[in-house]
């Protein structure tokens, strides 16, 4: 072995030893991740907080990180992640299960969370690890899907029902579609899954009712669901009905007039108003649709009026597992300030973030008066989201593993194949008969309850059937 090879490896090895020392988070800085659209607001809020509490002892650095992918970043590399970060609540399970987050122990913060938030959000904030329930998250933004439409082509009355949207689209052009959705993942096109009877607001859907994973807590084979599926199948076939977002993105479909409205959330609002121009923005609850003889099924008789539903979600602050000692305490104080009602109001005013706390809807008019500069769109935005609250369903959350069942493992993809009635892998028309639809819904329910697909052969002959 020649001598020089040693010199080379020695130099590298030396670098490894030296390098290690410089690693590890520095002690007196709290890094905060927030969504990009509210980056300025929270930077300002933290600055004010530090000025107010000079004895805080920590500097705060705010960075922008999309809440949708924040959880993935934390899991990918916990040490490089922020000390306090904000995630949509469906990620809470994964983070708690993987022990990437720390529970909330501060007394005042716990009381604030329990006092301010509606019950579904509170259920979500608590999570169990090794059997014992602990508070992990502090909600600060609530979200719900609603309808955004181009007022130039759709009147307010037409926006109330999908049939109206189709009519408006037909007027615009033979091939113009009534409405589109922003994405094909489980969340963005779940409005038919969660559809409810417009008057009674009831639905035969049961999605881990009472937050438990027992034999009866899930039910997806109800007549409402079959009818809704048949309706959405027809709507996708209707030249003026529903369309998936094209490869150029839903944003350009609206801009180029391929469709007249889109079902989305508050985080799509800014892009939507850019595409049609802020004065043409129309906002409404998710429209209703009336079952016809073709789409009726069982108890969901023809003529019943259904309204598309939504998940009632919230975004929450969470604490990185590596926090400890005085920093851990300081982080909770900061969260308490940032998720207080006052700050939630200010964030609504500054960047249209829909507050999470109860009773915000009634304060809407008072806020409108106090802040005339608020555009009526943002008020309509808030109104629509809070109205949808009644039709909303808090995303089910039992423990880490659960919501990934609902959300992935082929569930949403199978629902889409049923809606399209076309299987890309086998290139064949499928789910044409009611029986096939029931079988499909059975398979999806099986996924919710067991986290993996059932083998075709094991599906019982007579449907609907219980799954244990």
């Amino acid at each position: 072995m020649k001598k020089t090879r040693l010199l080379g490896s020695f130099v590298l090895f030396g670098a490894t030893v030296l390098g290690l020392a410089s690693c590890g988070g520095s002690e007196n800085k709290i890094v905060l991740w927030v969504g990009e659209e509210s980056y300025e607001f929270y930077t300002q809020a933290c600055k004010e907080y530090l000025e107010a509490n000079t004895d805080f002892g920590f500097t705060v650095e705010v960075k922008s990180q999309d809440t949708g992918t924040a959880a993935a970043q934390v899991i990918a590399d916990a040490t490089a992640a922020a000390d306090v970060f904000t995630v949509a609540h469906d990620n809470i399970g994964k983070l708690v299960q993987g022990k990437y987050v720390k529970p909330i122990t501060n007394e005042e913060l716990t009381n604030q969370i329990n006092a301010d938030n509606p019950q579904p959000f509170i259920d979500v904030a608590y999570s169990s690890l090794a059997g014992e329930k602990q508070l992990y998250a502090s909600p600060y933004i609530s979200q719900a899907l609603f309808l955004m439409y181009d007022k130039r082509s759709v009147s307010d009355t037409q926006a109330a029902s999908f049939e109206g949207l189709a009519e408006a689209a037909k007027a615009k052009g033979a091939k113009v579609k009534g409405w589109t959705v922003t994405g094909t993942d489980g969340f963005n096109f779940s409005f038919t899954v969660l559809a409810r009877n417009n008057e009674t607001k009831a639905t035969s859907l049961k999605l881990f009712e009472g937050g438990v994973k027992t034999k009866g807590s899930c039910w997806f084979q109800g007549d409402d669901e079959v009818a809704s599926m048949k309706w959405v199948q027809k709507a996708l076939k209707d030249p003026n009905g529903m369309m998936w977002a094209s490869d150029a993105g839903w944003y350009q479909d609206i801009q180029n007039g391929a469709t007249v409205s889109v079902i989305g959330g508050a985080w799509h609002f800014k892009t939507f108003s850019n595409s049609v121009g802020s004065e043409n923005v129309g906002i409404a609850k998710i429209p209703t649709y009336t079952l016809t003889s073709e789409t009726a099924f069982g108890t969901a008789a023809a003529g019943t009026v259904m309204r598309g539903g939504t998940f009632a979600d919230c975004k929450c602050f969470m604490i990185n597992a590596r926090s400890a000692g005085s920093k851990y305490v300081a982080e909770q104080k900061l969260i308490q300030y940032l998720s207080s009602k006052a700050i939630q109001d200010k964030s609504f005013i500054a960047c249209n973030n829909m507050p999470a706390y109860k009773g915000f809807a009634d304060k809407l008019d008072m806020i409108k008066k106090e802040h005339p500069e608020l555009s009526d769109n943002s008020i309509k935005l808030a109104r629509a989201q809070s109205d949808m609250g009644e039709y909303g369903l808090a995303q089910p959350f039992i423990n880490g593993t659960l919501n990934t069942y609902y959300y992935s493992k082929g569930g949403p993809e199978l629902y889409k194949v049923m809606a399209d009635q076309y299987d890309t892998s086998t290139k064949k028309e499928v789910f044409l008969t009611d029986a096939d639809i029931q079988k499909g819904l059975y398979r999806i329910q099986y996924i919710w309850q067991h986290g993996k697909e059932i083998d075709e052969k094991l599906i019982p002959a007579t449907l609907p059937a219980e799954i244990d």
Partner: protein
């Protein structure tokens, strides 16, 4: 006067030549047009400031090829473009990439040339073994090793380091140059062409191997030095996968320009409205590199042929 015997019809060579030349002109112009259109379209989009009804600039892809309202607004927006709360982020990206590519250019060229000289002109025990080793290593798809390299650099604090994220640029430089040495085949092809008798007569003149390399081989390999430097320089401008993993997707201020431009459209922070800015960014990146290429095209062609012939 049809009585004269019919002229034996054979095409005069000149006529045949002219016809085939004309045909190739037509074909070539069509082909060049096909090759130019996408690039022309991106450049035109960069200068498109069409307005929508409400008077704002349309940022998305539109159906018209030529801009109705050309202007420099996109470039202006690009300079002040902000992503993830980082001001003037595009200029920072350009700066980062320039820094990385200059350092990589020097490091990689040195490594490639030294390995190529050894393999081409020196004979030593593990020579065939080394060539086989480098060939086999080249066959593995690179993605998996990206993760390992990220963690290797992280363990010496050169990437994913929350305290000073700038170090991840150093990490990227090391990562790019580390692999460079194994790509010696083209340079070796060139050195093979230098006659061995030159090396032998230098040996007889009492030169050490180092002196032969420094005094005889390098002065004669200007084309391959430029070719290798050019390739090493343009590398960082083109890669967007590797850089994103090493620098980290939250470290926006330290991205390279390719990662930045790609993220403008297709990452979770991407927005179709940025397309015109993206086009402007492409023009900003494209111009210097194309100019470099056109200027050094002669050496590039020489490098390509030397490499290809020897393989």
């Amino acid at each position: 006067m049809s009585t004269t015997a019919p002229k034996k019809k054979y095409r005069s060579q000149k006529a045949a030549k002219r016809a085939s030349l004309a045909a190739s002109y037509v074909v070539l112009t069509i082909l060049s047009l096909i090759w130019i259109i996408p690039i022309l379209w991106i450049v035109l989009t960069a200068f498109r400031n069409d307005l929508n009804e409400s008077g704002e600039i349309i940022g998305t892809v539109t159906s018209n090829f030529f801009p109705n309202r050309p202007g420099f607004q996109n470039f202006a927006d690009l300079f002040t473009f902000k992503m993830n709360g980082v001001e003037f982020v595009f200029l920072r990206w350009m700066g980062n990439t320039l820094l990385v590519s200059v350092v990589c250019c020097i490091l990689s060229t040195f490594l490639i040339l030294s390995v190529a000289y050894c393999i081409s002109k020196l004979r030593f025990k593990m020579r065939k073994g080394f060539m086989k080793f480098s060939m086999i290593l080249g066959l593995f798809p690179g993605f998996m090793s990206m993760i390992a390299i990220y963690y290797l650099l992280k363990s010496i604090g050169l990437s994913g380091n929350p305290d000073n994220p700038a170090l991840s640029l150093v990490g990227l430089m090391i990562a790019y140059s580390a692999g460079a040495g194994m790509g010696f085949q083209v340079a070796k092809g060139f050195f093979d062409v230098i006659p061995n008798s030159l090396v032998e007569s230098a040996k007889l003149d009492g030169c050490t191997n180092f002196k032969i390399f420094w005094k005889i081989i390098l002065p004669l390999s200007k084309p391959i030095i430029i070719y290798t430097a050019l390739m090493a320089f343009t590398g960082p401008w083109m890669d967007f996968i590797f850089a994103k993993v090493i620098i980290g997707s939250t470290n926006t201020a330290y991205w390279t320009v390719s990662v930045g431009l790609y993220s403008m459209l297709y990452s979770d922070k991407g927005n179709p409205d940025y397309f015109t800015k993206f086009a402007a960014g492409c023009v900003m990146v494209g111009i210097p590199i194309t100019a470099l290429f056109m200027f050094l095209q002669r050496y590039y062609v020489e490098g390509v042929t030397a490499g290809a012939v020897k393989g």
